[in-house]
Amino acid sequence: MSEPILEASNLSKNFNGFHAVNNVSLRIEQGTIHALIGANGAGKTTCFNLLSKFLAPSSGRIRLKGRDITRFRPDRVARLGLVRSFQLSAVFASLTALENVGLALQRRRGESFDFWRSTRKLDDNRARAEELLDAVGLADDHHTLAAELPYGRKRALELATTLGKDPEVMLLDEPTAGMATEDVGHITRLIREVARGRTVVMVEHNLGVVSELCDRITVLARGEILVEGDYDTVARDERVIESYIGGGGHA
């Protein structure tokens, strides 16, 4: 088996003695879509925070593309090609859709610390930004302020922004949560499209979406891995069925 693009070994995080994530090991293979599911409070978002280094693990190691990133800062992890989204849509509210995506396109050299240059320096990125917005269905919203977009479109904008970084690995935290059914279909199609040539790890409550998109599924319960496998394996597992029913049936 080839080396996984993202690997966590015995990852744990405790908040003042509370084990939010306990001894979790994950192997994310390159080019796959991997789902992280589990009841609310199972530790999925905390896992994402650890993998993207927004939180420092209490113990365990993380490797990205063969490189130990356990002690890296989150911005550095992002520059290495792992970009995360947030559970609550994260857009730059008072900026336009174009400006939002533009921020993902600014290069490090010559385009970011230069306070003496004009923003005209960034015009070269504009065509690409428009392309990304069109691709997620925001063709008519280039100049709309992110704050004025309806929720579903905000998520689409967030996705376009993430894609602007051209990430090798994307962590998507509940990309369809709080959406109307037709928007869920739209986002699902989008994710499948943009996942080509990339690796995606997503937290998703909608099992329909999971079965449609994901190659592999890890089920978390109380901070620990309950089961891992493809959809059929996981769906048939009695502990999963039990925990989902026992856990209030939240899927």
Binding site: R76, V91, F113, W116, D134, G152, T161, D183
Partner: protein
């Protein structure tokens, strides 16, 4: 609509340039002082309005600019341009230190840290042997600029101050409208998202702190040359509070709004001077009125009113459902 604002700006510029010709109408020293506060407020707003950082210690930078410029001109007999440069750089260096220490926190904690550090700076100038303590550092020589321009000439001084402040304001404007400024806005709007896009946010904050403090130092340096005095007032926390007030009054979501706020506070302070302690009360009332009537500040409100029409039309188009897929 934008033309209306532009017209006002051009008229204001013409009026400012004409000030030394009519000293009997408006006192040039007052105008110069106001110009310094305008730069101070706009520089401060690089942090508050454009990055979302509330510093409550900006007097330290203004005051250091004044004291160091005074020290260089008076005790080291350096020419004006070097004294001003030294004051500006001291402000910037101090800003880098403040920034590096303060940005580990955010919000009110960050404000408290900057306040604490600026109090240390205050006590330094209170105790240091060269500052004249409560009397201030007096009789700072104005000298000549580049060995050419004699700053003892009031008209020359005025235009030099005008050009310097204009230059400082240009730097503020350029910064806001630069690739760097775009990243600052991202940090202000959603810091974790900016990090997740790969921006080393801490470094950006230190740089903008340094820039803001350097320009504040420049404002202080010019003030010392104008008044030939550097006084504890300039490093006092009251001044740190005043600049917050000016910025909020003028509008923190604009580039030059804080300058309008500075003008308003400066004018109120000056023309209400005969009423003594009532000045504070009046400014307080004006401030409350502004906050209640237009939260985005005077200039912010103005821009809003001038722009409202086209946006309302656009929104009507935007308010449709989401899915317009590319099928």
């Amino acid at each position: 609509m934008q033309t209306a604002l532009r017209l006002v700006a051009v008229l204001a510029l013409a009026a400012l340039l004409a000030v030394p010709l009519f000293p009997q109408i408006v006192y040039p020293v007052f105008v110069m002082q106001t110009l310094c506060f305008m730069l101070f407020a706009c520089a401060f707003n690089l942090l508050l309005g454009h990055t979302g950082i509330l510093s409550f210690g900006h007097a330290a930078f203004l005051g250091s600019g004044a004291y160091i410029t005074g020290y260089c001109a008076k005790f080291l007999a350096l020419p004006a341009e070097l004294s001003i440069l030294a004051g500006t750089l001291t402000g910037a260096a101090l800003g880098a230190v403040f920034g590096a220490l303060a940005i580990r926190r955010s919000g009110i904690y960050l404000a408290m840290i900057t306040l604490a550090m600026s109090q240390l700076v205050y006590f330094f100038y209170l105790q240091a042997p060269f500052t004249g303590a409560e009397d201030g550092m007096q009789q700072i020589p104005r000298g000549t600029l580049f060995g050419l321009l004699d700053l003892h000439n009031d008209v020359t001084l005025y235009y030099v101050v005008f050009a310097t402040i204009a230059g400082g304001l240009w730097v503020v404007w350029r910064t806001v409208n630069s690739p760097f400024g775009a990243v600052l806005r991202a940090i202000r709007e959603h810091e974790p998202r900016a990090i997740s896009l790969g921006y080393p946010v801490a470094r950006y904050k230190v740089v903008v702190f340094t820039l803001s403090a350097g320009l504040s130092g420049l404002a202080g340096s010019m003030k010392a040359i104008i008044f030939q005095l550097a006084a504890l007032n300039d490093v006092h926390w009251h001044t740190s509070g005043d600049v917050v007030l000016m910025t909020l009054l003028g509008g923190m979501n604009t580039v030059f709004g804080p300058a309008a706020g500075a003008l308003l506070v400066s004018a109120l302070t000056r023309y209400l001077d005969p009423f003594g302690a009532w000045v504070t009360v009046v400014i307080g009332v004006v401030f409350m009125a502004c906050v209640l009537v237009f939260r985005e500040g005077i200039v912010g409100k103005l821009q809003h009113v001038l722009r409202r029409r086209p946006r309302e039309k656009r929104q009507a188009v935007d308010r449709e459902g989401m899915v317009r897929t590319s099928e």
